[in-house]
């Protein structure tokens, strides 16, 4: 894979770092939880992109971010080996794990080494992240418009969540029962039993045919 210009890596690192620290600025509770596990270093090896992301949790609650390309620098490898937690996996595995509601990394395609309690604490912080969006909106637009906009965003978010829950409830039923696009579990099971029966019958016929052939051949001899 082509090496990425370090200028781009630095730009990306700055964007990620500023986004994280801005989000933490508006969630002081999460920030103080991060301070409890600081200083810590978390190294994430994104194997398919051949890229390593290093997060350093600082004592003041901020996070510093660095992006490297692996094995271009032995000092980087040394620093990574000294990380408190090291994770390795493909980008799609990391994204799936972030979107998944499962907390466990088992069968996620991600390998972990180091102080797992730091990782658990970090996962708790991410899961309980509660950014007060009203504050930046008020800073940008003023108290009254900012508050109104924040209320609108909250209402939209609540509506979106309820819609998402309803869709996950009625969609399987609609696809199976009304549109008949997808068979139900019982129908699938019945079908596969029929296949098994057919397979067994075919094997028996094959065996009998073979026996008859053998009899015919032996009688000619």
């Amino acid at each position: 894979m082509m090496s990425i210009d370090p200028t781009l890596l630095s730009a990306l690192a700055i964007v990620v770092e500023r986004s994280m620290n801005t989000a933490l600025k508006y969630d002081p509770a999460s920030r103080s939880k991060l301070q409890a596990i600081a200083p810590s270093t978390i190294a994430i090896d994104i194997s398919d992109l051949r890229c390593q992301l290093v997060l350093r949790l600082q004592n003041n609650g901020n996070i510093s971010v660095a992006l490297y390309q692996p094995s271009i620098d032995s000092q980087v490898d040394v620093a990574l080996s000294q990380a408190d937690v090291a994770l390795s996996g493909a980008l799609t595995d990391f994204i799936s794990q972030m979107l998944s509601s499962h907390q466990s990394l088992a069968h996620a395609g991600i390998s972990v080494s180091g102080k797992v309690q730091v990782l658990s604490a970090l996962k708790d912080v991410i899961a309980q992240l509660d950014i007060d969006w009203e504050e930046p909106l008020v800073e940008s637009f003023g108290i009254v418009p900012g508050h109104a906009l924040a209320q609108m965003l909250r209402a939209t978010s609540v509506w979106g969540k309820s819609q998402s829950q309803q869709i996950s409830q009625w969609l399987p039923e609609t696809l199976q029962e009304e549109l008949r696009l997808v068979p139900s579990a019982i129908e699938l099971e019945h079908f596969s039993r029929g296949i098994d029966t057919l397979r067994a019958a075919t094997q028996r016929i094959e065996a009998r045919t073979q026996r008859l052939k053998n009899t015919l051949l032996s009688s000619r001899d």
Binding site: P6, T7, A11, I72, Q75, A79
Partner: protein, 249 residues
């Protein structure tokens, strides 16, 4: 360098003992608007180059860092936060005007306590042997009269296992980019210098001094010749800038 007693000052050949004074004149002239011009000339990209330098330095809390030709203190400010109260950052520059601007800037930002300012020549660093965990020199090496002497001096004051990071303009890897870069350097930079600082000559020197600086592989060989156990370099922005990293055994 051609004759025994002459060296280059941009495209001009000058006596070695005159180069430092000529360079000093350039930086006395540009010191006041140095940061503004850096942002204008590079479109702010110099911050990304310096960010990569800091990331690759692997400096940690409690360590001791020397920033040579640190001028207005961009790198020193970041290192000060990383090394913390237990660590130490020395900002060294041969030019008093640049050092004053740097000291005033950092002090005004409240960056003090673990940072020290020294007017020093990179060729004759006034520090004991094996003092620093990391030495950086950003866009300063090309202005040094005797680069080999400076590299040997840096090697001496580094601790065993210490890192030397040289961030400097280099030779672009793409011929098309090189042509565009030449046009930009020799036409636009002096014009910007004239408009912003009323000093086109200093920015012409900047463009010329970049062309006279050794290319990436030559500088790597010089670093190894100075006694470093290993040296790698990383091209940035198509090779317009390169970061050399040397490790002392």
């Amino acid at each position: 360098m051609t004759d025994d007693n002459t060296t280059h000052f941009g495209y001009e050949q000058v006596k070695k003992e005159e180069k430092a004074e000529r360079v000093a004149g350039v930086f006395h002239s540009v010191a006041a608007k140095y940061d503004l011009m850096n942002d204008l000339m590079s479109g702010g990209v110099h911050r990304l180059w310096k960010r990569f330098t800091i990331d690759l330095s692997a400096v940690r809390a409690g360590q001791c860092v020397l920033d040579i030709a640190g001028g207005t203190g961009d790198l020193a400010a970041k290192f000060s936060k990383i090394v913390g109260p237990e660590g130490r950052v020395v900002l060294a520059d041969i030019n008093a005007s640049m050092l004053n601007v740097g000291r005033d800037k950092l002090t005004d930002k409240g960056i003090l306590g673990n940072i020290y300012y020294t007017q020093a020549d990179a060729q004759y660093l006034p520090f004991p042997d094996n003092t620093f965990d990391c030495i950086t020199i950003a866009f300063g090496l090309r202005n040094v009269t005797d680069k080999d002497l400076a590299l040997q001096s840096m090697h001496r004051v580094l601790k065993p296992g210490g890192r030397l990071l040289i961030l400097e303009f280099a030779k672009p890897s793409n011929p098309l980019l090189e042509k565009a870069y030449d046009a930009y350097s020799f036409s636009l930079l002096p014009l910007m210098g004239k408009l912003v600082t009323n000093d086109a000559k200093s920015y012409r020197y900047l463009a010329e001094s970049i062309r006279m600086h050794p290319d990436q592989n030559t500088l790597k060989a010089m670093v190894l010749e100075a006694g470093f156990a290993s040296c790698d370099y990383y091209n940035m922005t198509g090779g317009v800038v390169a970061l050399h990293k040397g490790i002392k055994a």
